[in-house]
């Protein structure tokens, strides 16, 4: 990575994202197809919702016949970290037009955000619209194309549940959870671990009286409050 901020460099700097996206997008296509969605529906989810883990949540809750609002709130909560990332990025595009700001915001992902934060260390704290937009759009195109390829492949695998494919979503959450815990330096690992343990207890006992599709939501809100409280208690 160098200090150039034109769109060609944006395409080049996004290549690591592209390689990791192809595989996860294909996994999403296969899982969505296995859950009972059509190829078109699976591709629409990637094209319209464009949200990584949130898409797996969406498919899981659709398959479980959850209500519309429970799904929308869950997807919003999973993606609410986008508020944090957009809030962090917005000041770097202060000088650009509102339309360009909305374009950057519409396609920003965890990965393009991470690459952008990395780029800042090379450019004396500058980002540009052509560079970031190119990295965003590359990620988007590969995500949608990879989903389509995965859905087609998923069509060819008979009875995928027998082969443990349904566990791909849970395995993805386990992987995302661990990567999040080691990457987020703003919260101590021990505190994050305490939140995970709290969630296990909350989910187990919550199952007695809170219906499944509401439980994750209620437990998450309680888990966030718990995290804030112990973070302050141990400072």
């Amino acid at each position: 990575m160098n200090d150039r901020l034109d769109w060609q460099t944006g395409v080049k700097d996004s290549l690591p994202i592209v390689f990791s996206y192809i595989t996860i997008a294909m996994a999403f296509g296969i899982v969505g197809k296995a859950a009972g969605l059509s190829v078109l529906q699976v591709v629409l989810i990637s094209a319209i919702d464009f949200g990584g883990a949130a898409q797996f949540v969406l498919v899981t809750m659709l398959a479980a016949h959850s209500g519309l609002w429970a799904i929308v709130v869950a997807v919003f909560l999973v993606n609410s970290r986008m508020i944090l990332m957009s809030t962090t990025l917005a000041p770097y595009f202060n000088g650009e037009s509102m339309l360009k700001n909305i374009l950057i915001g519409s396609f920003v992902t965890d990965e393009s955000f991470a690459v952008g934060m990395n780029k800042l260390t090379q450019t004396d704290g500058r980002l540009s619209f052509p560079w970031f937009n190119a990295a965003n759009l590359m990620s988007y195109l590969v995500w949608v194309a990879g989903t389509y390829a995965g859905a087609i492949i998923g069509d060819l695998i008979p009875n995928p549940e027998k082969w443990g494919v349904g566990f791909a979503i849970t395995a993805m959450f386990i992987g995302l959870l661990y990567l999040q815990m080691i990457a987020d330096k703003s919260i101590k690992f021990g505190i994050q671990l305490a939140v995970v343990v709290f969630m296990l207890v909350a989910i187990y006992f919550g199952m007695i009286f809170i219906p499944g599709n509401l439980l994750v939501l209620v437990a998450t809100i309680a888990g966030c409050f718990f995290g804030v409280v112990i973070k302050h208690a141990f400072q």
Partner: protein, 110 residues
């Protein structure tokens, strides 16, 4: 799966919610700032929601009673966690998880 109308409406509603959480900070941030407390609360969302989704797949709900265990998912989670820690790769973690449950299904079926 629910009807295709329901699926389409859900996809669109989720798309709108996701889009708004992406662009509204860009639109409003020149005028307002989120309070420290809200930002701190939001910083715990990813860890809490990921672990919540994971743990809810380990149990089978019986309202009014303690849940029973989903033994297949519980056992498959062990190699998956180890794979996540050792590989730090999402792809490897997903592959190990799927293969683990696939093998368990073979054993549990026999």
């Amino acid at each position: 799966m629910p009807s295709s109308e329901f699926v389409l409406i859900t996809i669109l509603a989720c798309g709108l919610a996701t889009w708004l959480s992406r662009i509204l900070p860009f639109v409003f941030l020149k005028k307002f700032n989120l309070s420290e407390g809200v930002l701190e609360f939001l910083s715990f969302v990813p860890v809490a929601i990921m672990s919540g989704l994971w743990f809810s797949s380990l149990f089978v709900q019986h309202l009014g009673h303690l849940p029973s265990l989903n033994v297949g998912n519980l056992l498959a989670s062990l190699p998956t966690v180890i794979a996540a820690i050792l590989s730090k790769s999402l792809l490897v973690t997903v592959l190990v998880g799927v293969i683990s449950l696939g093998l368990l299904n073979l054993f549990l079926a026999h």
